[in-house]
Amino acid sequence: MIELKNVSKIYNYGTPKAVVALEDVNLYIGKGELVLLMGPSGSGKSTLLSLIAALTRPTKGIVKVENKIVSKLPDHFAALYRREWIGFIFQRFNLIEELSVLENVLLPLVPTPLSIARSEERGWEIMERFAIEHKAHTQVSKLSGGERQRVAIARSLVLDPPIILADEPTANLDSTLAQQFLLLLEKLHEQGKTIVVATHDPRFESLHVDRIAKVEEGHVFYT
């Protein structure tokens, strides 16, 4: 499903400030797998997720998703690819604080050709699924940690993508919330989503995962 071949990412390539983030990485993630990318911060995990999401281009090598090269798409196609394939859950969730829950959930739908009525319908469906519809018109800044987490997941799933990428999702979460999040991930996994989580949180070790990849100083090792 997701395939990285000889991928290197060097920031400021060709300048004296060049920084190697990933070097010659090969990685394969199968359909419906739950994969952990473990490693200390700054090891290149986030870059790896960005490459899969086509948010950045590799300096060398190619990234394929469903046998299509996504590592060198023009902006228009990269965005369409993300809409169709990728749900992104960010570190600290990165919700837009002053917008309401509904507005946050609708963000991925705004640039799509979907009508306002259809978009809102989808928004309500997904909020109900994660039991936050009663807060639909509440500003995100007034939500509790658990609610935020559910909004972030609802937002990443509103377009029903087959792949979920999560970047340090449990950083700054207390153990109850972290536990809840892990349960949610397991549920999504059972529903057949392909999930890639970048984390250095040891609590993830209790999770039922298909594979763990260790990321260290730009290199990836399977265990």
Binding site: Y13, G14, K60, P74
Partner: protein, 319 residues
């Protein structure tokens, strides 16, 4: 040179557009020199990003230029209050040798901007920036024409002389008159009308046969033909005066601003018509020719209605 607020504003808008286009011009040159989708250099990424700036600028300038041409006509209309002899914009446009060229160039440039945007949208929908070089080469041409337009505009306003008597539309488009359009004016208006309707019929046939290139070519001819027919055949019926030939007076409130509708229909119809030839190649799907033909039909319908209505009311033909 004398200035009215309208002239200052027209010049302000055009200076602003030109400055923005100059930025796009620099981007265009850089892209033509170095754009290479196959390469992975940071320069290539920067160029891809800059191409968005250039296309935003072109879209913005087009969005300004379309209402600005109507504002330009309004400016001329207002100048007719100051320039002796002028009754409407027609007299002001012909007040010196630059006016007519400036006006035609303004219209041509809007069509070119429109075509550029079609090419741009097509480019965004290719997975490898297939038309990027082509569209920026095309842009260089547009930029030169806009520059020319700006120079003409400066010359035109600079040479306006309010103490010199100009002709009003009554004499300009009079058949006996000695005017730039005298050659066309010498043709029998019935022949002009005949040619106009014949072109319209040809457009119908081209649409039925789905021949885009033919349709495009005919649309290109239809624009001047319709303008000439409007001046020499249809306008007397609109003004209900056998001697009144003018393409500008129909924009005035006395005629319910019908000119704005007519020109909008004509411009959209002929623009889409001309663009239809490029559509299949660029957009990967043919343009439905009935859309431009529909606009053309509305135009033909409205101008014909004036003729028939006049006949129905007065039982005579004017020409």
């Amino acid at each position: 040179m004398f200035f009215t607020p309208e002239i200052v504003i027209s010049l302000l808008i055009d200076t602003l557009s030109l400055l923005l286009l100059a930025i796009a011009f620099v981007v265009a040159v850089r892209i033509l020199l170095w754009f290479d989708y196959g390469s992975d250099t940071s320069r290539q990424y920067a160029l891809e990003r800059q191409s968005y700036l250039a296309s935003t600028i072109v879209a913005f300038v087009l969005a300004v230029k379309i209402p600005a041409i109507f504002y330009f006509i309004y400016t001329l209309d207002r100048l007719s209050l100051v320039i002796p002899g002028a009754m409407c914009a027609a007299g002001v446009v012909t007040a010196n040798e630059y006016g007519v060229w400036l006006f035609m160039l303004k219209i041509v440039n809007i069509y070119l901007f429109g075509l550029w945007l079609v090419l741009h949208i097509a480019d965004l929908h290719t997975s490898n920036y297939h038309y990027t070089r082509a569209k920026f080469a095309f842009f260089l041409l547009i930029f030169i024409l806009v520059l020319l337009e700006f120079v003409l505009e400066l010359l035109y306003f600079g040479h306006l002389d309010i103490s010199q008597v100009v002709s009003c539309c009554g004499t300009l488009f009079n058949r006996a008159a000695h005017s730039p359009l005298a050659l066309v004016a010498a043709i029998d208006p019935k022949v002009i009308a005949g040619a106009f309707y014949a072109l319209y019929a040809a457009l119908l046939i081209a649409a039925l046969a789905k021949k885009e290139w033919l349709f495009s070519l005919l649309s290109l001819l239809f624009l001047p033909a319709a303008t000439v027919a409007l001046i020499f055949f249809f306008s007397p019926y609109i003004y209900e005066l056998p001697t009144h030939h003018c393409p500008f007076c129909i924009l005035q409130p006395e005629y319910h601003y019908i000119g704005y509708l007519l020109y909008a229909l004509l411009f959209i119809g002929t623009f889409l018509g001309i663009a239809s030839a490029f559509w299949p190649k660029w957009m990967k799907k043919p343009l439905n020719l009935w859309i431009p033909f529909g606009f053309d039909t509305l135009f033909v319908g409205i101008v014909s209605f004036y003729v028939l209505y006049y006949y129905y009311q007065n039982h005579v033909w004017l020409l």
